[in-house]
């Protein structure tokens, strides 16, 4: 039998993984469309199933990589913000009674989540966020992504981690006062 936590993590990882792939693809096709880049889609050339996008020159490739990586990172950030905001304001352990009543009135109680669910979600989203940052940094080292993007990504990831750590700290305090 698989440990409950691992099952939960797998469950929570599906959505962000799909979101990042969609973000990368959408970013790439948007930049090709709006900047009129010279690119061709070669079918079944990646893992013998998936298509790949070939650029005619290095400059177009770098431009497309930058914008698509930025789109991917933005989606990872958006998901992490959502989870952190939920952990701060819609956490069963410290949600304000007024907000809870308001959500109940609007039939939106489904937004309130337990520590177990939130922490698994946050662990996954933060992992994706930091891996995206590492991806951007590596890409910068190899002269593909602009350094400004990697620096901003690192600052965003560090800040989000810090905000999430504050929530964990708050949770520990609550547990300690209850116990």
């Amino acid at each position: 039998m698989v440990t409950r936590s691992i099952t939960r993590l797998i469950d929570e990882a599906i959505l962000p993984a799909a979101t990042l792939i969609v973000g990368k693809m959408a970013g790439l096709f948007a930049v090709i469309y709006f900047l009129h880049l010279d690119a061709t889609v070669v079918p079944a050339s990646f893992l013998k199933i998936l298509p790949t996008v070939h650029f005619a020159d290095q400059n177009s490739y770098i431009l497309a990589e930058n914008y698509s990586n930025l789109a991917m990172f933005s989606l990872a950030s958006a998901g992490t913000i959502f989870v952190i905001a939920r952990a701060h304001f819609l956490h069963t352990s410290h949600i304000s009674p007024q907000l809870q009543a308001k959500l109940a009135r609007l039939n939106l109680e489904v937004l309130i989540a337990s520590s177990y669910r939130l922490y698994h979600q946050a662990a996954i989203w933060l992992t994706f966020l930091w891996l995206s940052t590492a991806f951007l940094v590596l890409s910068t080292i190899f002269n593909i992504t602009y350094p400004q993007i990697s620096i901003v990504a690192f600052i965003v990831a560090a800040n989000f981690s810090w905000v999430f750590a504050l929530d964990i700290e708050k949770e520990v305090e609550i547990q300690r006062s209850q116990g």
């Binding site: 996008v53 891996l131 190899f142």
Partner: protein, 163 residues
């Protein structure tokens, strides 16, 4: 009991592998979804963070600027077919070789077949078969045919080697 513990550990290990694959998949996808055309010799290339970095070279073709000239590529080999106007003729800057690496690279041309001379640069009198290209720099590749055969149609096959 022992087998049960083993089964439990194995199932969890498989679950962890599934999780790792799930987490790595977007980055693997992002790293391989885009490519640059005209990249030669993929055996020597290394993929890092969505980029084909450390490519040995990029070859850009200008054969469309020369009448009756065609370029064919296969497995790192280049084949130029052309029809001469004069028995002895040079074509300058038929291709451009770019060094996309962060370090200077030394390249050499290895002829495979054909009488036509392939060389780096634009100087027909001093035809260089080896050249060092600075980082992000480029060098033209030219050809010179001095064979005075009756048939003006010729072809030459060569490879570019990285030293």
């Amino acid at each position: 009991m022992k087998y049960r513990h083993f089964g439990f550990a194995l199932t969890n290990l498989c679950a962890v592998i599934v999780l790792a694959v799930l987490i790595a998949s977007p980055f693997y996808f992002a790293g391989n979804f885009t490519k640059v055309a005209n990249v030669e010799d993929p055996e020597h290339s290394r993929r890092v963070a969505g980029a084909k970095s450390q490519m040995p070279y990029i070859v850009v073709s200008h054969t469309d600027q020369f009448p009756d000239m065609n370029l064919n590529q296969s497995e790192g080999k280049f084949m130029l077919d052309f029809v001469k106007i004069n028995p002895s003729q040079a074509y300058i800057g038929v291709l451009t070789l770019e060094n996309p690496n962060n370090n200077p690279q030394t390249y050499s041309i290895e002829p495979i077949s054909g009488y036509t001379k392939v060389f780096f640069g634009e100087n027909v009198t001093e035809r260089a078969s080896t050249t060092t290209v600075p980082s992000m720099g480029s060098v033209p590749i030219s050809i010179f045919s001095e064979s005075e055969t009756a048939a003006l149609g010729e072809s030459v096959e060569f490879k570019v080697l990285v030293k």
